[in-house]
């Protein structure tokens, strides 16, 4: 009676082949060191498996890349784990590879006939970095986009290929759909197939080479086989790798980190600078290294020196033949490792001490959180960038910082948290038209401070004089009427934050509305309020602080309805076409605190 194994063997020869693979004598015996390769292979397999499933949910185009990754990570149960494993394993692969290289050199495992053992690792390193660069762009968020731009630009300075290779990789002159399709094709087929092939070759060579290495004791007469002792060690190492990967993926959740892991910042926006751009952490050393190359010499730092270092490493089998060659090799690789680690730490410490960078990271994370919140309400066919561009919460602060903060402030800063060097020369607009803001304006102590009119030419104007003399000398009844007037003016704005208060105090506000027109309160002496007044010289209080009022004001503060010819330095943003209608609306909405959370679908 033939067994199943016999039948399979007769038809395919598979059984004896597997047997040879499992029980073939293992030159050099069972060692933990050999398990490095198993760990590398395992990490690669994790990448391949998670990568396949990520691919089933990914869509490569500028309008769908970020969106599909968002959906996968935040709206598909378990998606975070899948993407987390892929991201962490990618980093682990580079680390394991670097350590493997270190080990090969220190152990002298490059001696003839084992040169390929070293050379193949040297081939793997740039391949792994190419995987990392292509992989980073694919989620197409701000971080990936700007991080991938830099290596592409560095490629542009490489003599010979620089003039055409970036264009071929980008699929055009600009980053677009074809950049993503090309990067995906490289990242998911060509590069991993090559890496897999090289790993397979390394694994086969390991046996082949050790067998012929006279320096390995007992190599020629191996007694052990891969199965089961080495297999057990390999399995233990793979398990250790897996546990580490899982720990790294789960840690941010277990420690309750605010930022979801893996990070997904706001969708890539070529017109939006990203001051927090950094390469992946294991490339920080090169980033730091490049800082030391002044104008025009960066091709040395980015291309020439790394190439020379690679050539030295590739020449190690020959260098190793000289008397002190092996020691030189060990010293060289250790110095290299030490240099890379020091540069990386230096880069990290410089960034940590760099307040500008830290602020940029915070801003990027906040923008990312906002973009994700918007996307959670459903993404339009045009992509998430449409949501981002139409959101006052995201665009308002940036527009304010760029166009308003040279004079105004927002809660003391420029809208984005930065503090401009020049002192403010116009009002602080945080809470503009709210009751608190108006109460401060009508406070004799505060009206002439930098918070309100202090920095403007109105510091000497009638409003300040009125508040400092008349309001300060208000009678008991006038003083009692003031909060009603404030509430009434503030209610004109219809601020979202005051909707409840305005509804609750309807009677109070109605009273205030009447009071505004009285001679005692003196408002309508200069201001117009619902009744057209040709002689009004101060800004119209009708609809004060409402969206329409604010947009009109930003468009043209020098309009007779507002400051007229007395307008101080405020540009006529709409009349002079500095800002588009949409931008004026975004600033108005943001100042009014109107950027509602999108409703979940």
């Amino acid at each position: 009676m033939k067994t199943l194994a016999d039948r399979v063997e007769m038809r395919t020869g598979l059984v004896s082949r597997l047997r040879r693979l499992f029980w073939a004598p293992l030159p050099g015996g069972v060692t933990w060191r050999r398990s490095w390769l198993a760990a590398l292979g395992f990490t690669f397999l994790v990448q391949a498996v998670t990568g396949f499933f990520l691919l089933t949910g990914y869509s490569a185009s500028t309008q769908t890349a970020w969106e599909s990754v968002f959906h996968l990570q935040f709206q598909t149960p378990g998606g975070w784990l899948l993407r987390g494993l892929h991201v962490v394993a990618a980093q682990a692969f580079v680390v394991l590879l670097a350590l493997h290289l270190l080990q090969v050199v220190i152990a002298g495992a490059y001696r003839a006939p084992r040169e390929l053992n070293l050379w193949l690792v040297l081939v793997l390193l740039p391949l792994a970095i190419a995987q990392s660069v292509t992989g980073w762009l694919l989620p197409f968020d701000q971080k990936g986009y700007w991080a991938a731009r830099v290596p592409l630009n560095i490629l542009g300075v490489v003599p010979g290929v620089g003039s055409w290779l970036p264009q071929v990789l980008l699929g055009g002159a600009e980053v677009g759909h074809h950049t993503l399709t090309r990067f995906l094709a490289l990242h998911a087929t060509l590069l991993p197939l090559t890496i897999g092939g090289v790993l397979l070759a390394l694994w086969r060579l390991d046996r082949h080479g050790v067998e012929r290495d006279s320096t390995v004791p007992g190599a020629a007469r191996p007694e052990a086989s891969w199965w089961p002792d080495q297999a057990l060690r390999d399995a233990v190492v793979c398990l250790a790798v897996l546990v580490t990967l899982l720990f790294l993926v789960l840690r941010p959740r277990l420690t309750g980190a605010e930022e979801p892991f893996p990070e997904l910042l706001a969708p890539a926006d070529p017109a939006e600078p990203f001051a927090a751009a950094r390469p992946e952490w294991f490339m920080l050393f090169l980033f730091q290294f490049l800082k030391y190359f002044p104008a025009g010499t960066e091709v040395w730092g980015a291309v020439v020196i790394p190439t020379l270092v690679f050539l030295v490493m590739a020449a190690m089998p020959w260098i190793g033949r000289w008397r002190l060659g092996a020691r030189f090799n060990t010293a060289f690789i250790l110095a290299l490792a030490l240099g890379a680690v020091s540069l990386g730490v230096l880069a990290w410490r410089e960034d940590r001490a760099n307040a500008h960078y830290q602020a940029a990271v915070r801003a990027a994370r906040e923008a990312g959180a906002r973009a994700r919140a918007l996307a959670a309400g459903g993404i339009p066919p045009g992509g998430a960038l449409e949501l981002v561009h139409a959101d006052p919460g995201l665009q308002g602060p940036k527009l304010f910082a760029r166009h308003c903060a040279s004079c105004h402030r927002y809660e003391g800063h420029d809208g984005l948290g930065g503090i401009p060097t020049d002192p403010p020369s116009a009002a602080d607009l945080k809470g503009f038209a709210s009751r608190e803001w108006l109460a401060g304006l009508l406070n004799p102590e505060r009206v002439a401070t930098a918070h309100y009119f202090g920095g403007t030419r109105f510091a000497e104007g009638r409003m300040v004089r009125f508040v400092q003399r008349d309001v300060a000398g208000f009678s008991e009844t006038q003083r009692a009427a003031l909060p009603k007037v404030i509430a009434a003016v503030s209610a004109e704005a219809g601020l979202p934050a005051q909707v409840e208060a305005d509804a609750r105090d309807a009677a109070f506000i109605a009273e205030g509305r009447e009071l505004i027109r009285t001679r005692e309160m003196k408002c309508t002496g200069c201001h117009q309020f619902h009744v057209p007044d040709e002689d009004a010289i101060a800004p119209d209080l009708t609809g004060y602080g409402s969206r329409a009022w604010l947009m009109d004001f930003i468009r043209d503060p020098a309009h007779p309805r507002f400051y007229g010819r007395r307008n101080d330095r405020m540009p006529r943003f709409g009349a002079e076409a500095v800002l588009t209608e949409r931008e004026v609306g975004l600033i108005a909405d943001w100042l009014r605190g109107h950027w509602p959370e999108p409703a979940a679908p």
Binding site: S61, T62, Q63, W146, R149, V150, L152, N153, I154, G156, V157, G162, S163, W164, Q167, V168, L170, G171, G172, A173, E174, G176, H177, H178, R182, D269, P270, A271, E272, P273, F274, A275, A276, A277, F287, L290, K291, F293, P294, A295, G296, E298, V299, H356, Y357, A360, R402, S406, T421, D422, P571, E576, A577, V578
Partner: protein
């Protein structure tokens, strides 16, 4: 003397057959690879950007004191199969240099392609990526600055005495010469 005999040379015939097989095999493989590469290298056939003129703003929007202001340029753009009617092409800094003259600087750092910020405290522009600094007129103002050249000036025209038009184009980064990308 006998006529030279043509030797029965199996080695030579084997070599010829082997070579023929290799050539044939290579040719059959080269065809699909060639077809692929021809399409893959299509971006190289696209004409280098000559730049597009677009109206950015009005002269009165630029501060008279010469402080640069950043503008996003919008124009029609085709991204493979998608046509955008008005999409951001990039950013420029515009700066008054006289009553009727304006300087336009590409906001992209010529070092590694990040967008520079206007940082008056640093005397001009600062790139957040590798700390390149530039004077207000775009020139490299620090010998230690990693940028190989100053910020790229773009062509500007004042049309109808009031409209600021800029010819926007991208340049290769990382090289000393200013060559269109």
């Amino acid at each position: 003397m006998n006529e030279p005999r043509i030797p029965r040379d199996p080695a030579r015939r084997d070599f010829l057959r082997g070579a023929a097989a290799a050539v044939l095999g290579g040719a059959t493989l080269a065809m699909p690879v060639g077809a692929g590469l021809f399409v893959f290298l299509d971006p190289l056939r696209a004409p280098r950007g000559a730049g597009t003129w677009s109206r950015v703003t009005r002269l009165s929007a630029l501060p008279a004191d010469g402080m640069p202001r950043r503008f996003t340029l919008r124009a029609e753009r085709v991204n493979a199969w998608t046509r955008y009617s008005a999409t951001p092409l990039g950013a420029v800094y515009l700066r008054r240099t006289g009553e009727q003259s304006v300087q336009a600087l590409h906001a992209t750092c010529p070092h590694a392609g990040c967008l520079v910020d206007y940082a008056p405290a640093r005397g001009g522009f600062l790139c957040p990526c590798h700390n390149s600094t530039f004077a207000v007129d775009g020139a490299v103002n620090d010998p230690a600055s990693p940028s190989p050249r100053g910020l790229d000036a773009l062509e500007v025209e004042i049309r109808h005495g009031e409209e600021v038009w800029v010819r926007f184009q991208n340049f290769r980064v990382g090289v000393r010469e200013k060559v269109p990308a």
